[in-house]
């Protein structure tokens, strides 16, 4: 995790069995040959080096001085959406940390000065200079909410802060979703506030690219700002923000607020009967689990122990360590919300929940290797189409954006939508494309 | 050609050179051939080793024979050959109920083996009504199909381990019989020569099997046996049409039910039973119960199989042309004397592998070829034997006619079947060349293989792939 070095993971890397479990979903979940792969990187590039295990080996080779940086090595390391599917499949059976090693390998590249890649630099520079990833002036960050009647959490006490995130705030095609989110939550009586132009980037891109210093700086600023608000909870509708706020911020500093995803809040409101849906959707949809809402949304519990061996060579952690295996990701909440919508039929893809196939957008892949991101989206769109659904629904702006590109590129008849759009429609507001 | 030093080379076997005693191995029975230079009745593996060394030193060729006469395919083609007759090697070394395995020398016949197995509650896996005097091991070495497809896990079954004298003169044991330890030492640790694979990274038994004695001479083999049924019935389903029988065979194969499972046509049924008036085709399916709840096993399997049959709108017959199930079962599983096909002078076979769903194509081939060749279709018998759990079907046409005519027809039938994609996995007769037609690399690979184990080419070099291919 943060601040670790490859040395810290030498034993894990050595203990990789090269079994390739990281390439498939947990094997008992393989349902067809067509959708049997779970790792976007190896699905496209095929060399073993692109798998989670392959990157562990590269880490070991680097540590042992067997290899030195090269353009191709950096390509291998960064042609990866850091989706964490390898981590889940490995940890279904092992007590290893492939995703942490993958992150540490990237962090090592950054520390050694060979990364970020040129394509990543503008993003990180933008974070430094503008506190957002889209190279937009700070004051534009609140423009999405101009016409909304919503509290400024800096000015008024609120129960719940809506953390819109850079993409929902700044991408014109996405801003409507942020507005809809606010309207829906307010209609259910949630005491909601926003930060507007004072909202900072969550720092997620810096983390996934491996710039730990920048990430920590961002996280500290955010934690401090959010802690000062006194809100009970922070709700995000961006899975990327959610993932990092929930799982990585506790590694930096303690927070005095709870982090929830909008789907969790919606599910709670549905359960409480605070949202009543009257308008039938009459659609068959399929749902894409975003990586950072699903398998990568477990709060990381810092562990400061040592490895110990008992029974000669049984490796255990002292004190016991709680591994993040994707068990407690947000899988049910979005499905509960969808199940509550009238006239909507959910037909599932084969790769879902903790072994969902990534959209391809994350980990800096979209900016540095757009062809890889698009190929990954195409793969997911193909799977969505195979369900017979008319609509591909998700809960992450990055996923929605990349999958939309995939749909367009494939000439697919699928429509993409955010879960909040369906909710709003069922409540009687807005129209669906 | 003289055979000086041969008697000394085989210590316990006897060498025969009298012409009248050697005629069984050469010309005759409507077949062309030559008299061997000698027949060596080997009684031990040492005899075979001695003979092989002698043959190498003297530039002679060996033709191995295991069954009693009349010999069908094992006929000397050229002068100077020495026949290695193993039919006197008749020890049944083990009949092992616990492991369901027998280990017998190569001269043991089906009737001899079955007698020994019956005493311990086992039965041999038999081909369709083998002729009396037929060597069990020779039959298995030829991959002759056996009657119970469910029990066949590999086309090599029921053959397991073997002792072989290679053309190089080296004695070798295959599968787990190869060691460590002697057979006795292996038995002491509970082994029973049941794994045919290896040793290590080659399966020599597969190379010997199907080679018609061209790779080595087997002196003994272990073989899978079945439990002897406590209850055993035969379900018979006559039909004028092959198609429903094929669907039923697949149904049974996919259920893994039943024991014997085969289809015979009216001609073969009549020849086997001696009873005329048989239906065009009949599916015969054995159902058995063994040591565990035998009646219950028979009951549920019968119910299941009858369900499959009734789904085709058919019903099991208690008898066919007055022949009941018990008698029919006896006929198909027991050695036949006199042999139901008659002597080699009275018939010839053509057989190949295909899949059951393609069988009707080949029946049409038979019909059309008979017509074209103006041959009486009623003199051709058909036998369809599902193998390998129903994945493969042995398709056999027997032409009942004087040898020359039979040979003409089998050639014509084989040519026509080849054109439809018949796979001649066991090349024999006057159609063996079709198996290798347009396969020069395969032939070359077989030749290179033979060179490894029989560098001087002493073992039956008349097998087609050993010859020059034009």
């Amino acid at each position: 995790m943060l601040g670790k070095t490859l040395e810290d993971y030498e034993k894990d890397m050595t203990r990789c069995a090269r079994c390739s479990l990281c390439k498939w979903p947990p094997l008992a979940q393989v349902k067809s040959i067509r959708y049997s792969q779970v790792c976007p990187a190896i699905s496209k590039y095929n060399f073993h080096s692109y798998s989670g295990g392959g990157k562990m080996i590269i880490g070991l080779s680097k540590l042992r001085g067997r290899v030195d940086y090269s353009e191709e090595m950096l390509n291998v390391i960064y042609r990866c959406s850091v989706c964490g599917a390898c981590d889940i499949s490995c940890k279904y059976s092992r007590d290893l940390e492939p995703l942490e090693i993958l992150h540490t390998l990237r962090a090592t590249c950054v520390k050694d000065g060979v990364a970020p890649l040129p394509a990543h630099r503008p993003i990180l520079d933008s974070m430094r200079n503008y506190d957002n990833v889209w190279q937009q002036p700070r004051k534009k960050k609140g423009s999405w909410a101009k016409k909304l009647d919503v509290k400024n959490a800096k000015e008024q006490p609120v129960d719940t802060l809506y953390f819109a995130g850079c993409t929902y705030s700044l991408r014109p095609e996405m801003q409507g979703i942020a507005r809809t989110t606010v309207e829906v939550l307010q209609s259910a009586g949630v005491d909601l506030g926003i930060l507007g132009e004072e909202e900072l980037c969550c720092g997620s891109p810096a983390y996934t690219i491996g710039d730990e210093e920048l990430f920590v700086e961002n996280a500290r600023k955010n934690i401090k700002a959010l802690n000062s608000l006194g809100v009970r909870r922070v709700v995000t509708s961006c899975a990327g923000c959610f993932g990092v706020l929930k799982t990585k911020y506790p590694l930096v500093e303690p927070a005095n607020f709870e982090v929830v995803n909008v789907t969790e809040l919606l599910a709670e409101l549905v359960e409480q009967g605070r949202l009543s849906f009257s308008r039938p959707l009459d659609r068959t949809i399929t749902y894409h689990d975003p990586c950072h809402l699903g398998r990568q949304s477990e709060t990381y519990k810092p562990w400061h122990g040592v490895e110990r061996k008992v029974l000669n060579h049984l490796v255990i952690q002292d004190p016991p360590k709680e591994f993040n295996r994707g068990t407690y990701g947000v899988y049910e909440a979005p499905r509960k919300v969808l199940a509550a919508l009238p006239g909507l039929e959910l037909t599932e893809m084969e790769r879902i929940r903790e072994f969902s196939f990534c959209c391809g957008s994350g980990g800096g892949a979209k900016s540095a290797f757009p062809e890889f991101a698009l190929a990954t989206a195409r793969e997911r769109v193909d799977e969505a189409e195979s369900t017979g659904a008319e609509m591909l629904v998700t809960a992450c702006p990055w996923c929605e954006s990349n999958l939309s590109e995939g749909i367009a590129d494939a000439g697919s008849r699928l429509k993409s939508a955010s879960i909040i759009e369906l909710v709003s429609y069922a409540l009687g507001g807005g129209e669906l494309s | 050609m003289g055979v000086e030093g041969l008697s000394e080379a085989v210590s316990s076997g006897s060498v025969v050179t009298q012409k009248e005693l050697m005629e069984d191995y050469g010309a005759g029975n409507g077949r062309k051939g030559a008299l061997p230079a000698a027949v060596v009745f080997c009684e031990t593996a040492d005899d075979v080793v001695g003979l092989t060394k002698w043959a190498r030193e003297n530039g002679r060729k060996i033709l191995p024979v295991s069954s009693a006469p009349p010999h069908e395919s094992a006929v000397v083609q050229k002068e100077g050959y020495v026949v290695c007759d193993l039919s006197r090697m008749k020890r049944i070394v083990r009949a092992d109920r616990r492991n369901r395995v027998a280990l017998a020398e190569v001269g043991v016949t089906f009737e001899e083996l079955d007698g020994a197995l019956e005493r311990v509650g086992l039965r041999a896996m038999t081909p369709l009504a083998p002729r009396t005097g037929k060597s069990v091991v020779a039959s298995y070495l030829d991959r002759t199909p056996t009657l119970v497809p469910r029990a066949q896990w590999d086309l090599s079954d029921p053959l397991l381990c073997t002792e072989v004298i290679m053309g190089s003169g080296k004695l070798f044991r295959t599968g787990c019989s190869s060691g460590p330890g002697t057979l006795e030492e292996q038995w002491a640790t509970g082994q029973a020569q049941k794994n045919p694979m290896g040793p290590s990274a080659f399966d020599f038994f597969r190379i010997v099997q199907g080679s018609r004695g061209s790779m080595g001479i087997v002196t003994w083999a272990s073989m899978k046996c079945e439990l002897r049924p406590r209850v055993h019935e035969l379900l018979m389903l006559p039909s004028d049409d092959l198609a429903p029988l094929i669907r039923i065979v697949y149904g049974i194969a996919h259920a893994r039910w039943g024991e014997e499972c085969l289809i015979l046509d009216s001609n073969n049924l009549t020849r086997l039973t001696g009873v005329p008036g048989m239906p065009a085709f009949a599916l015969l399916v054995g159902v058995a119960g063994f040591d565990y709840r035998p009646e219950q096993r028979v009951s549920y399997q019968k119910r299941g199989i009858e369900g499959i049959i009734s789904s085709e709108g058919a019903r099991v017959s208690r008898s066919i042309a007055g022949v009941g199930g018990r008698r029919m079962l006896q006929v198909i599983t027991s050695p036949s004397d006199p042999y139901w096909k008659g002597s080699p002078a009275e018939h010839a076979d053509v057989y190949f592998l295909t899949t059951m769903n393609r069988a009707p194509d080949f029946v049409s081939v038979i019909d059309e070829t008979c017509k074209k060749e103006k041959f009486d279709r009623a003199q051709v018998g058909l036998y369809l034997q599902p193998q390998l759990g129903g994945r493969v079907t042995h398709f056999e046409a027997t032409v009942f006619a004087p040898r020359e005519e039979a040979d003409r027809m089998t050639r014509a039938l084989a040519e026509a079947a080849a054109a439809k994609g018949a796979y001649f996995s066991r090349p024999a007769g006057n159609w063996d060349d079709l198996a290798y037609r347009d396969k020069p690399l395969l032939v070359e690979t077989f030749r290179r293989t033979k060179k490894i184990f029989d560098p001087d080419g002493v073992m039956n070099p008349d097998v087609l792939f050993c010859k020059e291919v034009v």
Binding site: E72, M73 | R100, G190, N195, L353
Partner: protein, 613 residues
């Protein structure tokens, strides 16, 4: 940071360009970081002393037989040693010698055909057990999946390696399931073996006449030492279950909806002899879909989400309940068949003094057995051991019940692991990181049990030496094949590949077991692959090396298809002489090191005629 010296062999630029022309720019790499991910292999440390084998000169990923053939021909023209891998798991996929051209067959990943009626599948090298099974289930069929797991290549198991799986009693054995195959021979010639050139069907690979299946492999395959297999057909088997087995829950614990008429059991016995009897009877009764022995340690580990959770339970002595146990699955297609199978199974359990510990059908039995089990521990181990057992057991039971898990759920976990072979890494790799296997001959079930008994004794010594994990010593794995015609029980030794004591001495345990199989006539160990083992074993097994080496020499005259795990006559025979000269006293580690050195210097690319001369 240390800097390891890596011996490298460069591919001539012109050859690289030509290879690029064959496979395309995106499918070739000579980047050290990429190459190292092929040199790093499971159990490499036991062979080379560290985690890596020799680094290849390049990796190519052909997409078709034609590309494979072009590569192999180029290798022959340029005298470049090569080796193909499918999923590439294990040191057998690489070579101790640097500079081989590695063919990664991952792009050849199609199921070319499933012939439903005739129960045959035709596959390319990268089709794995999980994918073929998933597709076969949809058609009411199943395939044999080797114990290594459903992440392994169907083709590699059938043509080139070895492998036996948990459902072998009803789905056979990989060698025996091979039908037709397509073979790019070591010199680049393309040979299609079997019927499909005549019929477009692949239903057999035998004949015409002899079977070349006997050349390409035996019990073990050539491990990439005899060219490249690009397609093969395998037998499929009837599947009496649904088109998909539905799992519920989230990793790491899935619950399974048991298919109708399928029942999983864990049955324990008083000792080995009863297990012998039971196995023989179950085999001949032909009632089992699966019959398998997992020792308590891997079985408990497979149920637990982590090593820590395993340890909590293990230290309490739970294993005492089922040290001698077998897992059985029955799978019937009708209720009356199920009644027959259940009835026969109960008869056999009764006759062999077995105890049904858990089943997917019955929760009550577990509690009864547990009560009786405590009584047994009191009798056998005394009250203190019993007291030690109670807290973790009680905690486990309470935790399980609170989580809504009834004992039948554990039987269901067993069921799905036996059917899908997906928990092997959890059951064996997670403990210390690695394991190696030993003994494990394919032989009669009686002798399999003798192997297990001997293996346990030998392993105890190496546990006491601190080389292997203390898994209770008894860690035999295996089961029955082909309705019990033969079985196998291999003794697994768990170690930590990052621990020097394991790296230095892990092989010693294997050596002891090999010695026992020779001296005590326990049938040929599955370890008998590679030159050092050939040298040791061959004199005891009809000098088989001579014939295997002859095959290699005949079909790979240029000696380019990497034979590091297959055979090299000159190395085997020089090691044999060494062993003989030493009067049978020798240090196997030294022999292995010598063999490696020799191989690196003279192995790949050395013409066999020269060696023979």
């Amino acid at each position: 940071m240390t800097t390891e010296v890596v011996e490298t062999v460069d591919l001539p630029e012109a050859v690289y360009e030509e290879l690029k022309g064959i496979v395309g720019q995106d499918n070739i790499s000579r980047e050290p970081a990429v190459l190292d991910t092929y040199a790093f292999q499971y159990i490499a440390e036991l062979l080379t002393g560290h985690s890596y084998l020799g680094r290849p000169c390049a990796v190519v990923m052909p997409a078709s037989t034609e590309e494979v053939q072009a590569i192999v021909r180029l290798c022959n023209r340029e005298s470049i040693p090569y080796k193909a891998v499918s999923t590439g798991w294990g040191a057998y996929g690489g070579s101790p010698a640097p500079g081989i051209l590695q063919l990664d067959l991952r792009r050849m990943n199609r199921i070319l055909d499933i012939d439903t009626d005739n129960m045959i599948a035709v596959v390319e090298p990268y089709v794995v057990g999980a994918t073929l099974q998933a597709e076969a289930f949809k058609l009411g069929l199943n395939c044999h999946i080797v114990g290594a797991g459903s992440n392994t290549s169907i083709l590699a198991s059938a043509t080139s390696v070895m492998g036996q799986g948990t459902t072998g009693v009803s789905t056979g054995f990989s060698n025996r399931n091979l039908l037709g195959f397509e073979w790019v021979m070591p010199d680049g010639e393309l040979l299609r073996v079997g019927c499909f050139e005549d019929s477009d069907e692949w239903f057999t690979g035998d004949g015409p006449g002899p079977s070349l299946r006997g050349i390409i492999r035996g019990f073990a395959g050539a491990f990439g030492g005899l060219g490249v297999f690009t397609k093969c057909a395998v037998k499929l088997y009837p599947w009496f279950g649904p088109s998909r087995i539905e799992l519920t829950g989230v990793t790491p614990e899935y619950d399974v909806e048991m298919p109708k008429n399928h029942i999983a059991y864990l049955i324990a016995f008083p000792g080995w002899e009863e297990m012998k009897e039971f196995g023989n009877r179950v085999g001949e009764a032909e009632i089992a879909f699966s019959m398998c022995h997992n020792a308590p340690a891997p079985m408990i580990a497979a149920m637990m989400e982590s090593n820590m959770a395993f340890y909590d339970l293990w230290k309490g002595g739970l294993a005492e309940h089922f040290k001698y146990s077998l897992e059985v699955v029955i799978a019937a297609q009708s209720e009356d068949e199920l009644a027959f199978q259940e009835g026969v199974l109960r008869d056999i359990i009764r006759r062999t003094k077995g105890r049904e510990i858990i089943s997917s059908k019955n929760d009550l039995r577990y509690y009864v057995d547990l009560t009786l089990g405590l009584g047994r521990i009191v009798r056998q181990a005394g009250p203190m051991a019993t007291l030690r057992t109670i807290p973790p057991l009680a905690q486990f039971m309470i935790k399980s019940l609170m989580a809504g898990k009834r004992p039948s759920m554990f039987a269901k976990t067993l069921y799905i692991s036996l059917v899908k072979q997906h928990l092997n890494a959890r059951g064996i790799f997670r403990f210390g990181g690695s394991f190696w296997t030993s003994m494990g001959a394919l032989t009669s079930w009686d002798c399999c049990i003798e192997n297990a008994k001997e293996g346990e004794q030998i392993k105890r010594k190496w546990i006491d030496e601190g080389v292997l994990m203390d898994d209770g010593a008894e860690n035999a794995w295996g089961g029955l094949y082909e309705s019990g015609c033969y079985g196998h029980l291999e003794e697994l030794g768990v170690y930590d590949q990052s621990d020097p004591i394991c790296v230095d001495h892990g092989i010693d345990f294997v050596v002891d077991t090999v010695e026992a199989t020779i001296n005590k006539h326990l049938a040929m160990s599955l370890n008998a692959t590679g030159d050092p083992f050939h040298a040791w074993y061959s004199p005891h097994v009809m000098n088989y090396h001579d014939h295997v080496a002859s095959i290699k020499e005949e079909f790979d005259r240029a000696n380019l298809s990497d034979a590091s795990v297959y055979i090299n006559r000159s190395i085997v025979e020089s090691l044999m002489k060494m062993i003989e000269d030493g009067g049978g006293n020798f240090n196997f580690r030294e022999i292995m090191d010598l063999a490696n050195d020799e191989f690196v210097q003279t192995g790949p690319g050395t013409e066999t005629e020269e060696l023979a001369g």
